[in-house]
Symmetry: C2
Subunit: 215 residues, 2 copies
């Protein structure tokens, strides 16, 4: 399949192409396009080859065709509805992060099980979304997924309840889960779980720092 | 160089090897070791080949030699001191995440510039570290890095002040930075910045969800 790193770059390519076609540019070389996206032209060409897209040697890429092609790959069903379960420190940092809404993700549901948290209302401007949202109890999870047609669940709860929350998200119809809790979730076939471990970022930094010591 | 994904797996290999040598195991096949680490044996052998480490066909790997070799690559200067600048929602989620301390990272400094936050004391048990820590003002950043010999800086501030914070970390001697703020930081040669964008995780999930629709 297509490598994750390539998938992660496609929205960047799409944004640059959209601004080029808005500026009336018809064709563009892979060097110029790659430079605007902050990657080498070899990496750019390699990424597009995974989509079966090749420029014409000496002419480059057709901007409007390539914009259409990438947006079809990325999916037109934007915005993607996201439900966040666990509205603690991490959940709140995710809620106010503008990087989600700017890429076509809308937070459509907030769920928690702590009596002090449930019932709290977050304003549309804080969520950068269309409407205010109230933090709802766990018992409402199925109704929220059903009403909003959310497609992605984010688990930001403690580890001990993460599997239970995951099972309920899957039973409600969610097939894509982003998990922060430090447990390995068991899911049926057809459900994809991505696990984030920010400690890995520190490990990579430490590994390189250690090697710098030898230079 | 060694791919990041390989670097991220080395601590897992190291933990498994440490428990095998504690159990008195002398040699182990790459299949058995890979299975314990949750990877294919082909990926395991490929990872170790980056370190110049090859098992003996039919015999496998020498557990104590391989443990020593990987721990040398990972660096023995654990624990690595980490200073977190910006103790808001994200900063607090990072502070209480057990995944950092369990991999040899100790939070040795907390810095913020909001009068309500500066002066707050966090207990050693909340930090899973040796001592209580008080959140200090930005003006103390250089003294904290000097006193603690911290090697890694984490930026969890809003975007508009992130470059300024980065410059001060670098001037204080930090050469490894984990940046969450949505800006591209400029740093001199010799300083490594890793940027986290959790929206990329959602993009990858959405990309696969979109493709599932075609199946
Ligand atoms: N993977 C990483 O890199 C990383 C980094 C930081 C934190 N974490 C993890 O993220 C999780 C959240 O961290 P935090 O600092 O925000 O913790 P937190 O305690 O501030 O927040 C957890 C929230 O989950 C809620 N909750 C508890 N049980 C629940 C349930 N059954 N259903 C719904 N909500 C429930 C709590 O009421 C609370 O609001 C933890 O598991 C932590 O280990 C992971
Ligand atoms: N990259 C990602 O995936 C991701 C995800 C979530 C949040 N974020 C980003 O992380 C940052 C923090 O998010 P948050 O939700 O914790 O925000 P927050 O407002 O809760 O916390 C920010 C903290 O930084 C402090 N601060 C502000 N200016 C400072 C300065 N000059 N020096 C020191 N401290 C300063 C504030 O007092 C506050 O405590 C934001 O930039 C946000 O966009 C990134």
């Amino acid at each position: 399949g297509i490598p994750d790193a390539t998938v992660a770059r496609l929205p960047v390519y799409h944004r640059v192409l959209v601004s080029l076609s808005a500026a009336g540019v018809q064709t563009v070389s892979s060097e110029a396009l790659a430079a605007k996206c902050g990657v080498s032209s070899a990496k750019f060409r390699k990424d597009l080859s995974y989509l079966g897209s090749y420029g014409t040697r000496g002419v480059g890429y057709d901007v409007s065709y390539l914009t259409y092609h990438i947006s079809r790959e990325l999916g037109s069903s934007q915005p993607w509805g996201v439900v966040i379960v666990g509205v603690g420190n991490l959940g709140r940092a995710l809620i106010s992060y503008r990087g989600f809404t700017s890429r076509g993700f809308a937070i459509v549901g907030l769920v928690d099980n702590h009596p002090d948290v449930v019932g709290e209302s977050l304003s549309a401007s804080e969520l950068a979304s269309a409407a205010d949202l109230t933090i709802r109890p766990l018992v409402d999870l199925e109704a929220i997924v059903g009403d909003t047609k959310a497609q992605i669940g984010v688990i930001a709860t403690p580890a001990d309840c993460a599997q239970g929350v995951c099972d309920r998200l899957v039973a409600a119809g969610i097939r894509s889960i982003l998990n922060f809790a430090p447990v390995v979730l068991e899911v049926p076939d057809g459900v994809e779980v991505r696990k984030v471990d920010l400690a890995v970022e520190l490990q990579i930094l430490a590994f390189h720092e250690q090697r710098r010591g030898y230079e």
